[in-house]
Each structure stands twice: as structure tokens, then as C-alpha cells.
């Protein structure tokens, strides 16, 4: 097969325009006691900074409850940041009013985790795809239909006419996910946020969808944020990885560097816990850090990973929050081991 190799080459990102800039973003949710009085905060995102370039694909890797969904929803403009801001194409999005927000939503597409839950069961595929265009002010029906046909072709749902009349329950899991992707693409966004787009799909379909997303990302020069807990799929998809733990990005860097040489003990643990299909796995035990991720209401003092970390330094890791170090070019880690 004349398929291009899927493993991403590291591109020089420097020359590309910054599309999305996030500086010291915090998203805290108030905890109320019996409806009045603030009892504390859930620090879902606590000091996150990164830049995303035009046409760049990055992966945010973390376990459930680490704040990756809150980060994503803030980027989508669904949550307001408590502190810091999200800057898209030079515009601060928290200041946007109705008109600005409507423009912003046309620039950002969202691919949900559970395709069946994301598609309204009472709407045909045509209505599902038409609605964003109507809201976006595309008055001409012919124009809308031709756009729908083009996008359906891009997500390889052939023949288009047959699919348009169908309802979500008539589609297989893979086709539903294609429909969700088509909806995300329909207003020609510059940025796509995909929240675990393949985790609900079967192994054989999973690769097909990942390849489709890769193809779309490359042909349209899209910026892509791929949120996942599965390290084995990230290298087929993104150029950079950001590892998130308890509301913080503990390690950031190009994919090749992180997968060859993970620095943060949490990243090391995640990689060790990821299995490849190999019969020798059954012979031994895995090294897994004990315990569970901390509560985001009262995160531990110092480094948030220190209670589970085998390499924690007494008197340092349990007291002071580690700053960001850069032991290699372009590879940052928040860990005292690299001071």
C-alpha cells in the first residue's frame, strides 16, 4: 500500500504563527456549603501555559480527574477562566461578547468522546450537519448542501445521499464518529479539539478514525488538540505531548523526546503501565506507583505527585512546588530532580 508513514516527523515549529496562546491559566470551581458560603475550590486547572501553532497537533495526556476536560472546555469557551486567559489568533476569548463568541465558535471544532451521546437521536444526519451552518448565517440552501456534501466526502461517508437521511442509531460506531467529525469540520475551523475521539471504538475501527483525523489535519493545515489517556496512539497523531497531572502540565515536549526519554516520574509510570501485545507481559508484574491521584480541593503541598513518587526528595518535594526546568531544548518538566 502506498500509505505514508504514520509516525509524525518533528517539524520546526518556530516559524509557524501562534494560533492559541495560554498563559498561566487557572480554572477553579467554587464548592459551596448548603448553597451559601464558599467552602473551598476545586482547582481543576492550576497554572497551565502553552502555545499552539497554526497547523500543529498536540496531545494532552492524563488520567481522568486530572483536569484535561476542564482545560479543553475552557479552550472551547464553555468555561470562563478564573485567572489567566486564552488568546486565539491575537484575541482574548474571555472578553468576547455574543458576536465575537459566535465567530470564535466557527473557528473551533469539537469532537466528543462518545459519538452516540453527542448526536441528537431525533435529527437526521442532514439536519445535524445543517444546523451549525444555519446558525452561522449561511442562508442559501444550495450552498449549505454543497458544503455538507463536501465534508461528508472528506470523512469518507459514501454515498452521501444515503447517509443524509439516516438517524444516528442507524449508523455503526465508526460511522457515528465520522458524523461527529463532519460536524466539527463543517464551518471550516482552524482549531479542532478532540476529546478521546477513539476510546469508545473497537480496535479495528480506531486506527481508521485516527488515520482519517490525521489526513484532515494535514490537508487543511488544522491545529489539533488531541486529549487522551492512551499513550500508544499519540505518536501516530501529534508532534508534541503535554502530560497533565492534578491540574498541572508536568511535562511538555516533542513526541520523540518524551517517548524515548521521559523525564517526569509520572510520565515514566504512565509509559511503564502501557502494554504492548506481548505474551511475555504475563510473566512479571508491572511497576505502578501506589495510591490514586490527589483530590483537587486539597492538593498535597509541594509537588502534587510526591505522595506516589518513588524518587521524591524529602524536605523538598513535599514542601515546595517545583518550577519548570528545561533539561533538553524544547523539553520542559516540572520536577525537582532536574534542578
Amino acid at each position: 500500500m502506498a500509505e505514508t508513514k504514520v509516525v509524525k516527523e518533528e517539524k520546526k515549529v518556530d516559524e509557524r504563527k501562534v494560533l492559541l496562546g495560554i498563559q498561566d491559566l487557572r480554572v477553579w470551581f467554587e464548592l459551596r456549603r448548603f448553597g451559601f458560603g464558599v467552602a473551598g475550590h476545586v482547582r481543576a486547572v492550576d497554572g497551565v501555559s502553552f502555545e499552539l501553532h497554526q497547523g500543529e497537533a498536540i496531545a494532552v495526556v492524563g488520567e481522568s480527574g486530572c483536569g484535561k476536560s476542564s482545560l479543553m472546555k475552557t479552550i472551547l469557551g464553555l468555561y470562563r477562566p478564573t485567572e489567566g486567559d486564552v488568546e486565539f489568533d491575537g484575541q482574548k476569548i474571555s472578553g468576547l461578547e455574543r458576536k465575537g463568541l459566535s465567530w470564535y465558535r466557527s473557528q473551533v471544532g469539537y469532537i466528543q468522546q462518545d459519538p452516540y451521546g453527542a448526536l441528537p437521536p431525533f435529527m437526521s444526519l442532514q439536519r445535524i450537519l445543517e444546523e451549525p451552518l444555519v446558525i452561522g448565517g449561511m442562508r442559501n440552501r444550495e450552498e449549505r448542501l454543497s458544503r455538507i456534501h463536501k465534508v461528508m466526502g472528506e470523512v469518507k461517508m459514501h454515498p452521501v445521499e444515503d447517509f443524509l437521511a439516516k438517524f444516528p442509531h442507524m449508523l455503526s460506531g465508526g460511522q457515528q464518529q465520522r458524523a461527529v467529525i463532519a460536524r466539527a469540520m463543517i464551518r471550516e475551523p482552524k482549531l479542532i479539539v478532540a476529546d478521546e475521539p477513539v476510546s469508545m471504538l473497537d480496535a479495528s475501527v480506531r486506527v481508521e478514525i485516527l488515520k482519517l483525523l490525521r489526513g484532515l489535519q494535514e490537508t487543511h493545515n488544522l491545529s489539533f488538540i488531541y486529549i487522551t489517556h492512551d499513550l500508544s496512539t499519540v505518536k501516530y497523531f501529534s508532534e508534541r505531548i503535554m502530560v497533565m497531572y492534578a491540574g498541572k502540565l508536568v511535562e511538555k515536549g516533542p513526541i520523540g523526546k518524551i517517548l524515548k526519554n521521559p523525564l517526569h516520574p509520572y510520565t515514566v509510570a504512565l509509559m511503564a503501565a502501557t502494554s504492548d501485545p506481548d505474551a511475555r507481559n504475563a510473566d512479571g508484574y508491572k511497576e505502578v506507583p501506589p495510591g490514586e491521584p490527589p483530590s483537587l480541593v486539597n492538593p498535597p503541598a509541594g509537588c502534587r505527585f510526591h505522595p506516589r513518587c518513588a524518587r521524591a526528595i524529602q524536605g523538598l518535594c513535599d514542601q515546595q512546588d517545583p518550577p519548570e526546568y528545561e533539561p533538553e531544548m524544547g523539553h520542559q518538566v516540572q520536577c525537582w530532580l532536574y534542578q
Binding site: 517517548l259 501485545p277 508491572k286 506507583p289
Partner: protein, 318 residues
């Protein structure tokens, strides 16, 4: 009849009746499992793997159209037992099950310790204190502190609840535990932890497992034997050490090739087409429409061939 095996299944059939016709969820499955071993049943959603588990444990819904075949557990022909005998002598005592989404399988208004103790009281006739003591030991086996005995399920994290569900399956010390997707809803590190627990139980208590999953990569953590299921039938079965490096059946081969790997730069490939509907299945090889290696003979039902210590249902090896 094959007394040295723990479990022996022959021509097990489970069909459901629906308004569209009978769904052939389990259609003539044969396999056997030794003592102290784990078999992994791998397949995509809708291939009938959960129905197979239910057929083995006789946990049947009301719309069963056909349920037949032979199941020997520990030398006893359990299919010959009536429902009451089966409940008393086989379920829990002989084999138990950790259901899919075990985290939601716990009763929310009963303390987890009592829930774990209950099967021991009912099936082993223990007094409550005795059973709670046993539950405490089971909690140690699965790595949950005994302080949690008096907690309610909502106070436990997903991983903890999963461990409690495993403890419950262990409490009657059955020879065989059926695990249906035990880690699919859990995080990576929790998942690795649960597999460590299962490996330890297998080594220390000598329990056998049937692990039903679609996750090929993590299934290799526990597998001694692998069985690949496609459209209600097992298409390949053999030792894990032989299967993982070189699967024989074209479907198994393509399924392995579709797994993204962390430690290899191999390009994953997907399988085109979709599995057949389990209603009105054709009489030819069920994978033939998607198979790149099909040839004239594939119009007929393939035989099960023994090759290299494995069984494979494919004309290529006949």
C-alpha cells in the same frame, strides 16, 4: 470425560429470539481450560463474547431461542443440572463472575464488606462474623485496606470498587472466575494495578480466569491461552506465547496489526468492512467478505484445523 481439565465446553450454542429473527450470539463454541490458567477471549463489540460468558454461567435473559451444548466443570456435566442445582453447586462455588462495569454492579445502600461477605454466608453457610473475617482476607488479596469494609460504594474510587468486585468473586474460593471487561472503564495506572492483583491471585490462590475483553494489548498481561471470537464463533485458539508473535487466522492477524504500539514504529492497519449481523448468518466462512486471503473454498464452512499446537478455523490451513 477429560477429567484433567477444569473447564470443557463443546458445541455451546446460545441464540436469542428477536422480532427480526434469531440472533446467533454464541454459535457452536468449543474450548477447554486447564487448572491455574487464564484464557483470554478477544473480540470486537457484538461478536458474542459477553453472551459466551453468560452462557457459561447460565445467566440467561428471557428471550433465549436455543441454549444447548456441553459444559463440564471439574468433571461434572453442569448442563445436566437443573436451575436450582446449578445455583447451589456451580454458580459462586464452582465459578463466579466479575460483571462488566463492576463499579456499578455493587449495591449502593449496603456496606461493601457485607456485600463481599454475602455469597460466603449463602453458599458456604457461614455465620456473619466468620464471613466478614473472610471478606477481610479477600480485601487483603486485592489490596484494599480493611478500613474500607464498613464503607459504602460511593465512598470508593472506581479502582477500589473494581477490586471489591473481584474480592466478592473470590470469597467463595471458586476454581474459575469469569472477568467481563474488568478494566475498560478505568485509568491506565489503575488498570495496571488491577492486572497486578489478578496475576498475584492466579499465582497465590491458583484461580483460573476467563478474561473477556476487546483490549488486545492489556489482555496479554494475564493470558496463558488466547481465543479469538468472530461473529459468534471462535476462529483461533492457542497458547499466548505462540499467538501473540504470529497469529494464524487472517482475522486474528489483522486484529493484531490494528493495535497501536508504544514500543514499535510499526504502522497500524485497519480492517475494512464490518462484522456481519448475527441474524441470518451465511453458511460460508463468516470472515470471508472482509478477508484479503479468501479463495474458492471459503464459500463453505471452514473446518477447525490443528496446526502448531493451535486450533484455527480457516481453509488456509486445511
Amino acid at each position: 470425560m477429560a477429567a484433567e481439565k477444569l473447564l470443557n465446553i463443546e458445541k455451546l450454542v446460545l441464540h436469542f429470539s428477536t422480532t427480526h429473527g434469531p440472533v446467533q450470539a454464541v454459535d457452536g463454541v468449543d474450548f477447554s481450560l486447564d487448572f491455574h490458567k487464564a484464557v483470554v477471549i478477544l473480540g470486537e463489540s457484538g461478536c458474542g463474547k459477553t453472551s459466551l460468558a453468560k452462557a457459561i454461567l447460565r445467566l440467561l435473559p428471557r428471550n433465549v431461542a436455543q441454549y444447548s451444548g456441553k459444559v463440564w466443570l471439574n468433571g461434572t456435566d453442569v448442563m445436566a443440572l437443573n436451575d436450582e442445582e446449578y445455583r447451589q453447586n456451580v454458580r459462586w462455588v464452582g465459578m463466579s463472575m466479575v460483571p462488566q462495569a463492576a463499579m456499578n454492579a455493587l449495591n449502593p445502600v449496603i456496606r461493601v464488606g457485607d456485600q463481599v461477605a454475602e455469597p460466603a454466608m449463602i453458599h458456604l453457610g457461614m455465620k456473619k462474623e466468620e464471613a466478614l473475617n473472610l471478606a477481610k482476607q479477600m480485601f487483603q488479596h486485592v489490596g484494599v485496606s480493611e478500613d474500607f469494609l464498613v464503607r459504602y460504594p460511593f465512598e470508593l474510587s472506581g479502582g477500589m470498587r473494581q477490586r471489591v468486585a473481584i474480592a466478592m468473586a473470590l470469597v467463595t474460593s471458586p476454581n474459575l472466575i469469569v472477568l467481563d471487561e474488568p478494566t475498560s472503564a478505568l485509568d491506565l495506572l489503575t488498570q495496571a494495578n488491577i492486572f497486578n492483583v489478578l496475576k498475584r491471585i492466579k499465582k497465590e490462590l491458583g484461580t483460573s480466569f476467563i478474561l473477556i475483553t476487546h483490549d488486545i494489548a492489556t489482555s496479554s498481561e494475564l493470558a496463558d491461552e488466547v481465543a479469538i471470537m468472530y461473529a459468534g464463533q471462535i476462529v483461533e485458539e492457542g497458547p499466548a506465547k505462540k499467538f501473540f508473535p504470529a497469529p494464524l487466522h487472517p482475522y486474528a492477524h489483522m486484529l493484531m496489526a490494528s493495535v497501536p504500539r508504544l514500543r514499535a514504529d510499526q504502522d497500524p492497519e485497519f480492517i475494512t468492512g464490518q462484522p456481519p449481523s448475527l441474524i441470518n448468518l451465511p453458511t460460508n466462512c463468516r470472515f470471508a467478505p472482509r478477508c484479503p486471503k479468501r479463495f474458492a473454498k471459503c464459500d463453505q464452512e471452514p473446518p477447525v484445523v490443528e496446526k502448531d499446537g493451535r486450533k484455527v478455523k480457516c481453509w488456509l490451513y486445511a
